[in-house]
Symmetry: C2
Subunit: 487 residues, 2 copies
């Protein structure tokens, strides 16, 4: 699919921005900031169009995922990726590049972990432990529930048995099927099962595909005292559902499942955020924070989740540097650490975003906005903003993004991401939302690799961030915090 909507103006020759627009009409100032005669929205449009062919995100993401593979929160790989990223960001011309460490309770899968049907329908299944769950080995009869609700409402005696939730996940471009299940079926299901005496917990992966991949993901913090808890692939759930049909027809006895999980807590270690600035030429203290998270699940190489996010946001700032221009306000790119984790209550800040909020609390009142790209690298689809007194801002931004096929969602309230959202209440969020229709096909699987990335769609993301950031950084726009969300 070609990315660019038919309505997009021909990519502006950059000479129009530099040689003609800048030197003739508006000499670039000593600080590198664009002189004023060229309207800021025209500058943003020219940068946007330059981004469409710059490939900076693609190249960075390629090297990041190739060099480090999976980057689990708190791992050596995440740390080395952070150090390499800091080095690259300096090479690329970012300023104030540094790493901010913070404490984290680390969980690791260990392995090998296994799950299989035993007895009459004996066969191996494809499954992975839920993040934060407990090591153990068990073999017991399975009690299958079509939905999580059915399990909760059921009076079935599951003591000494393995609870299996067959509930599928809805596929939607805004990912709405995920949030309804990640905090419940995946987040709490194993605790509910354990309460009722179950010795194991199995759920269908939160997947919108039917390829045979198990999807990892954070669950409850079990402190090593839980029951084996795993997510199995969608085809394996289809298999169990067919067995259920045979059982109902009197053609099969009970299903028994054996599970071996190996997940362990490794103790309190550290993770880190990588922080890099494109310092504002006029208002350096007025900061716009964007980024993605550098950590990933351990099965794939974290390309769509979320190497893409760090690459997109970094590349947007790089486009400005490559064009030799500087924003008036500071654009701060943060590669967040430890997004993919559950933490016990207490001595950590939960995510890299929380650590950043605490470390930078005194500065936050000057910050303009924050956003996080953490929904893959397919085409951006819409954007959302908090209210602003600058009535022209939305119009200008819409005009910049419509040609990329991105609409303004005036009904949505932006949240930022899992990390940057830690600043909600202090700093206004804005959202640029990808078309996530494919996202949960490979999310948290071994199949989340660089092969999933479409370079044209990735460039569209960079172009949109570039235009948005330039407009925010070169106007006086301020957004209003939602009144109830203040901490």
């Amino acid at each position: 699919m070609k990315l660019i909507a038919t309505g997009l103006a021909t990519v502006l020759a950059l000479t129009a921005f530099h040689a003609e627009a800048a030197p003739k009409k508006a000499p670039v100032s000593a600080s590198g900031a664009l002189a004023s005669p060229m309207p800021v929205e025209d500058q943003a449009a020219a940068l946007r169009d330059a981004a469409l062919t710059a490939n900076g995100a693609y190249d960075f993401l390629s090297e990041l995922t190739t060099r480090f593979g999976p980057r689990p929160a708190g791992s050596d790989s995440e740390k080395r990726a952070a150090e390499w990223s800091a080095m690259r960001l300096k090479e690329l011309g970012f300023q104030n590049v540094h790493i901010e460490s913070f404490p984290l309770h680390v969980w690791a899968r260990g392995g090998p972990e296994t799950i299989a049907i035993t007895g009459e329908f004996a066969q191996p299944l494809v499954g992975v432990s839920l993040g934060g769950s407990t090591a153990g080995e068990v073999e017991a009869e399975a009690v299958m529930f079509d939905t999580y609700r059915e399990f909760l409402d059921s009076k079935a005696d599951v003591a000494g048995k393995i609870v299996v939730i067959l509930q599928p996940m809805a596929k939607a471009s805004n990912g709405s099927g995920y949030g309804r299940m990640s905090g419940t079926v995946r987040g709490k299901g194993q605790l509910e099962a354990q309460k009722r005496g179950a010795v194991g917990y199995v759920m269908r992966s939160l997947s919108t595909d039917n390829n045979r991949f198990a999807h990892a993901g954070a669950s409850a913090w079990t402190d090593g005292k839980g029951i084996p808890a795993m997510a199995i692939s969608a085809p394996d759930v289809s298999q169990l559902s067919r067995i259920k049909v045979l059982q109902k027809a009197g053609k099969g006895g009970p299903v028994r499942i054996s599970m071996k999980t190996t997940g362990q807590f490794l103790g309190l270690k550290t993770s880190q955020n990588v922080v890099a600035d494109l310092v504002g030429s006029e208002h350096p203290e007025q900061v716009i924070v964007v980024g993605g998270h550098l950590d990933s699940w351990d099965l794939g190489t974290g390309a769509i989740d979320d190497g893409a996010g760090v690459a997109i946001t970094m590349a947007a700032a790089k486009v400005m540097m490559d064009q030799g221009v500087k924003p008036k306000r500071t654009i701060r790119v943060v590669f967040w650490g430890s997004e993919e984790v559950s933490q016990p209550a207490g001595d950590t800040t939960d995510t890299g975003g929380g650590a950043f909020r605490e470390a930078h609390k005194s500065e936050l009142s000057n910050y303009v906005a924050h956003a996080e790209s953490d929904f893959g690298a397919d085409k951006l689809n819409n954007f959302a903003l908090l209210p602003t007194d600058d009535a022209s801002f939305v119009t200008k931004l819409s005009n910049l993004l419509y040609p990329l096929g991105i609409y303004y969602d005036d009904k949505a309230t932006p949240n930022g991401g899992e990390d940057s959202g830690a600043m909600n209440g202090f700093v206004p969020a804005f959202d640029l939302n990808q078309d996530g229709y494919r996202y949960f096909d490979t999310h948290h699987t071994a199949n989340d690799t660089f092969d999933r990335i479409d370079p044209q769609q990735l460039n569209q993301n960079v172009a949109a961030y570039t235009a948005t950031l330039w407009l925010m950084a070169n106007t006086d726009v301020r957004f209003k915090l939602p009144p109830k969300e203040a901490h």
Copy 2:
């Protein structure tokens, strides 16, 4: 995609065959054979159209793959699947249903097996041992070759190192990319590497997709004295190729790989063919043999390879039984055992087909033809026949199959399958060839499950087999063996 080509006549009401055509014009004989007034090609067309909505193959394949999962050659699962199949075939009305056992050297993966990059680019890879290879554990520098030819021609010193072949596989609807590599890169590569002192062998999976599945497959019989030999997924090869680019740019040192393989020979055991007849009403000794193979690789549940083949051919005969008609010649359905294996020279017949040929040698001169469905369950695309003196046969069969979108390939020489092909030289082969464009996307992977099956395309397969078998079984057609192929 709708299956039926626009040219297909509206499915004939079966009453036209039974109530009107048969009872009024052509009473069904006492033996159940159709009386002659209705032309055999019209009978075949009516049966063909009944098959398009019968779903017998889909139901059988569903239960087979659900009950038994993977069915490795010589395993308990393969044996139980054979016994269950025999029971089901009797229930469905087949005659002379029995199991024929034969000896087989059995290899099993064991496990868990692992492969990973260590050192600078440390990360786990997704790989599987090649069938018939040897257990071992090794960590060494990798020497990467873009093609197998490059490795063979190279004078590179690979002693003490791991040979890695990055060569991709071509994607084609006739599967032509596979045969060029299965016997060489996969079949002999590990022996060539071992000859030159290598301590491990890694190849790109014979895959036409870029999902992160490793593809299993038979390699050389190493007798437990080989070197660790594995196939890694296509995305992992892309990863290694990107590392190679970094190395060439001076941005990376040597790649080291660690491998642990666990494949073992379990000794001389048995496998089995399941044989079932629809006995001919006039010429029972004139046999047409069709079938698929019941064994599968151990990673998936063997739906496309080759549960589909047994289901399609069985269901074609079932359509005739369900319509209450009997062929004049015998249609014999064989569920072959042990297609997916390499065997040492000597005391076995290699495949179920070889065992069948030896056990039935005295009957073979009366056999009319053989075919094997072993290329998945997507739409049949073309057919091939050996020469016949009955000039009208090809025309009649073409007329029956064109409406299903199947053309006559007059350039091709039919071979049958890996199993039924053991009868070549004794019994003429015929081929009905699927569109195999997707086949090697999931072939021999964990993803070969029932989810890959499209019921409409599966029914098209059954319809074509039904029409073809009815025409062959109710005419006097004989095909000529290729002169040079006689044993």
